[in-house]
């Protein structure tokens, strides 16, 4: 009789949540009820905007953080501290500057207690595999970014981990170097020359995820949750220009910008709407620039997001923030991964500076509740001035301190452009006076 044993998953995460204590007493939920299993022989991608908790999940699996609730198991055992058989590659390379390339690569082997001769042999083999032959005695500061990340890979691979964790490994590299390294790694993976069983990769680059992963988990933010799981069944090596590839990328863009309706202005008390809306900082220059680009050739007011990202050379995160800012201010609408200028947006593109500021100011006061609140408070007070702390405290009821700071920073920047109020950084106060 055949034994139908389903192979035990390499990693088994069940209903894991993670929260951080906020200053004001309750906790900020960063991850909520995440389920994840990783089998042997697959590359899994965690894709999401910054702040969606994907790096936190990676660190939970790496044993560097404990989950607040739920269970996390690796190779069948609960994760208590960095588990055996797992190695990580870092976004900032994390190489020790006082060790040579060879010493850096041998580091993990030393900790495992391997004999010096055997260590050296394995380290040299890993360095050879990753293409760094000849650089064994160099120090990290003598190497370029791409080389340093190769050392990071060699260091992780040399311990022959079952699971390779990668935390945005290519985002600190320039486009050419990143592409070379990506294809090198995928080539080694297809040839079976990587001494690992599975890979878990965190990225915010949509094309990278589709290029490399067999399965993509799309995360939503605030709190981090798995929004969708997408299987990529294209054969390696994948071609970016392949129509199926492009279609997949498009659908992911659409999925990630899905809150298509402009947010209702004032449902107080509900996280994410009204005054408690997190505003990511995009400068007025970027907003004007995007509106102008959209209005001109070749888009004439309507553009596909991935195409826009490629031609403006923007990271998907930046583009999302920009597009959402435009949507919030009713200068454009986001639908199905496409950005379309509204009538107001088209008018904005054709006005000159002063008139633009006026139009911007109208939309700012009408559609961004926090600005309306600041304006009301300033009008009511006899001195026409108010400390920023008053608004920051209110914001912190809805979001973490860091987000409150960023939202306030954005409001100040937009408010100054629109000349709706003045802000003095040294005394941290809003006022209706002109700066002296």
């Amino acid at each position: 009789m055949l034994d139908t044993v389903t192979p035990k998953p390499l990693v088994d995460i069940h209903k894991v949540s993670r929260s951080f204590p906020k200053g004001s007493g309750d906790d900020l939920l960063v991850l909520e009820n995440v389920d994840l299993t990783i089998q042997s022989g697959e590359i899994v991608g965690l894709l999401g905007r910054s702040g969606s908790g994907k790096s936190t999940l990676l660190r939970i699996i790496a044993g560097l953080i404990k989950p607040s609730s739920g269970s996390a198991a690796c190779r069948g055992e609960a994760i208590q501290g960095p588990p055996n058989g797992v190695a990580m590659v870092f976004q900032s390379f994390a190489l020790f500057p006082w060790l040579t390339v060879l010493q850096n690569v041998e580091l993990g082997l030393e900790a495992l207690g391997i004999e010096p001769a055997e260590r050296k042999k394995r380290a040299l083999a890993a360095i050879d595999l990753i293409g760094l032959d000849g650089f064994e005695s160099a120090f990290p500061k003598e190497l370029s970014g791409g080389m340093r990340q190769r050392v990071g890979f060699a260091r992780a691979l040399v311990v022959h981990p079952d699971l390779l964790l990668m935390d945005e490994p290519f985002s600190a590299l320039d486009v050419l170097t990143a592409e070379t390294l990506r294809t090198d790694i995928i080539d080694l993976w297809i040839e079976g020359r990587l001494p690992i069983k599975s890979v878990l990769m965190v990225t915010h680059n949509i094309e990278e995820a589709v290029l490399m992963c067999d399965r993509i988990l799309v995360f939503s933010s605030n709190p981090g949750r798995v929004a969708a799981e997408i299987k990529v069944e294209l054969p390696h090596p994948r071609n970016r220009l392949d129509p199926q590839f492009r279609q997949l990328v498009d659908s992911i863009y659409a999925r990630m910008t899905q809150r298509a309706e402009p947010r209702a202005p004032s449902i107080e008390g509900i996280q994410g709407t009204g005054v408690g809306m997190v505003l990511n900082h995009v400068s007025s220059n970027l907003i004007s620039g995007l509106i102008e680009s959209l209005a001109g050739d070749p888009y004439h007011g309507h553009a596909d997001l991935p195409v826009l990202a490629a031609s403006l050379q923007l990271e998907s995160d930046e583009l999302f923030h920009l597009a959402e800012a435009l949507q919030l201010l009713r200068f454009a609408t986001l639908n199905d991964g496409d950005l379309t200028l509204t009538d107001a947006g088209k008018r904005f593109a054709n006005l000159e500076t002063d008139a633009r500021k006026k139009l911007f100011a109208e939309h700012l006061v009408a559609y961004v509740p926090l600005v309306g609140l600041i304006r009301r408070v300033l009008d009511e007070r006899p001195t026409h001035s108010a400390p920023a702390a008053r608004f920051r405290n209110e914001l912190e009821d809805y979001m973490s301190e860091d987000y409150a700071d960023e939202t306030l920073h954005t409001i100040v920047s937009w408010g100054r452009y629109a000349e709706v109020f003045a802000y003095d950084e040294q005394s941290e106060a809003f006022s209706l006076e002109n700066p002296h």
């Binding site: 660190r59 790496a62 044993g63 560097l64 960095p82 055996n84 797992v86 190695a87 990580m88 870092f90 976004q91 900032s92 390379f93 994390a94 020790f96 500057p97 006082w98 060790l99 580091l107 993990g108 030393e110 900790a111 495992l112 120090f139 260091r155 311990v159 400390p387 040294q426 005394s427 106060a429």
Partner: protein
């Protein structure tokens, strides 16, 4: 402070220099608009450090005996000297409390606001992690009445910096012709002046000493110099072994470090010699060996420099390196030797250089201690100088000081500088 100013002047960013030149700012305007503001953060920090060193010696020198002349100036230093003579321990306690209060006051009302204000001159274009905070400065900025106090200074500064002096230098402008022979000539001339001055001073000293001392006195001075050197080395080693692990432990916990750092800086600012009498009483009471037990006094005030520099180093240690070390399961001595110690090394050396320099200074006051009529003397160069001062024996004072200067300079050149250079070259992060 001078050295900090010098460093800042040498490191002014090139693009700001070019901007001032292309806008035709005169040398005087450039000095007030670029050089001084750029130097302010370093200057403020070094002023704070110098202040604490200053307290130490003011306290020590307020009551001074040279030969037959005894001078006592009104101040907390002579108060403590009198308390020692009268064996009045509670009085010493009052002096300690007063000193604590004074330091807290000028720290909160003077230095913290200035450090926080100087943050606006910091050059990095991106905001740093935590800007220094001062409730006093915030109060100043937010109340109209206090802000009004600063108007006369602002007015004065803008008047002074806009005075249209236009220096016409007799030699080519500083930046333009660095490589030209005329400026090399200037360098040679300058070195010649320094060499001549040093030679002259050396010859004067020799003449003065040779008149009344013999080579045997020199041998004695050098001998006790080595004793003090040994003491300083042992004390630095002991302080490092104790405070480095503690500093690392604190520095790796940001919330704790935030609360402990000001406390440690405060301890560094406190003139330790006010607390000496308490220890002297203990030594006298238990009849302990002065040679061994007076030594810790030398490092009492300066060990804190090691601690707060190590805390700063551990706080600045990059998180991703910590995560990498943890994820590759580096623990125990391997973690200490390969991960954290190299990471904090430059900071440690900075702290140790300051601590050792401070200890040499302190030896003059710590190797001789008295309580009432009892005088404890340890063998060492500090005691040699102190004894010669009290006896009014000027040749020996000069000899002692010369030997101490030579020792400290050699020590710095042969030990600290190479260590610091090594740290900068191999171990500097980023």
């Amino acid at each position: 402070m001078t050295f900090s100013m010098y460093q800042s002047l040498r490191n002014v960013p090139k693009d700001l220099e070019e901007a001032t030149a292309s806008f035709h700012l005169s040398g005087w305007q450039r000095f007030w608009r670029l050089d001084v503001p750029f130097a302010v953060p370093g200057l403020v920090w070094n002023t704070m450090m110098s202040m604490s060193g200053g307290w130490f010696f003011v306290v020590a020198s307020e009551a001074i005996t040279v030969g037959d002349t005894t001078v006592t100036l009104p101040g907390v230093g002579s108060y403590v000297a009198l308390a020692i003579k009268q064996q009045n321990l509670p009085a010493v306690g009052y002096a300690v409390l007063t000193m604590l209060a004074v330091i807290v006051l000028y720290d909160q009302f003077l230095f913290r606001p200035i450090v926080a204000w100087a943050d606006k001159f910091r050059f990095e274009q991106t905001a740093s992690g935590t800007a220094p905070d001062s409730w006093m400065l915030d109060l100043f900025r937010r109340t109209r009445a206090l802000r009004a106090l600063s108007w006369p200074f602002v007015a004065l500064q803008s008047m002074v910096s806009s005075i249209p002096f236009r220096w016409r230098l007799p030699w080519p402008a500083a930046r333009a012709s660095r490589e030209e022979p005329s400026s090399r000539l200037l360098d040679i001339a300058w070195y010649a002046v320094i060499a001549a001055g040093t030679a002259y001073a050396g010859w004067q000293i020799y003449g003065y000493l040779a008149a009344s001392l013999s080579p045997r006195d020199l041998a004695v001075a050098v001998g006790v110099g080595f004793v003090t050197l040994a003491r300083v080395l042992v004390l630095i080693a002991l302080a490092s072994v104790i405070w480095v692990p503690i500093g690392v432990w604190i520095g790796l916990r940001p919330k704790l470090a935030e609360r402990v750092q000001p406390l440690v800086q405060f301890l560094a600012a406190f003139p330790a010699n006010i607390a000496f009498p308490a220890f002297v009483v203990a030594i006298v009471h238990f009849s302990l060996n002065a040679d061994v037990w007076l030594s810790p006094l030398m490092i009492l005030g300066t060990q804190w420099y090691i601690l707060f520099n190590v805390i700063a180093g551990a706080s600045a240690f990059p998180t991703d390196l910590r995560e990498a070390a943890s994820s590759f399961q580096l623990t125990g001595w391997r973690w200490w030797v390969k991960v954290i110690l190299p990471g904090i090394f430059p900071y440690y050396v900075t702290g140790a250089i300051t601590a050792s320099g401070g200890s040499w200074n302190a030896s003059i006051v710590a190797e001789v201690a008295s309580w009432g009529d009892e005088q404890l003397t340890a063998t060492g160069l500090g005691a040699y100088i102190a004894a010669a001062t009290t006896a009014g024996d000027f040749p020996r004072v000069v000899l002692g000081i010369t030997v101490m200067c030579i020792f400290v300079t050699l020590f710095n050149r042969l030990l600290w500088r190479p260590l610091y250079a090594f740290g900068e070259r191999r171990l500097r992060l980023g």
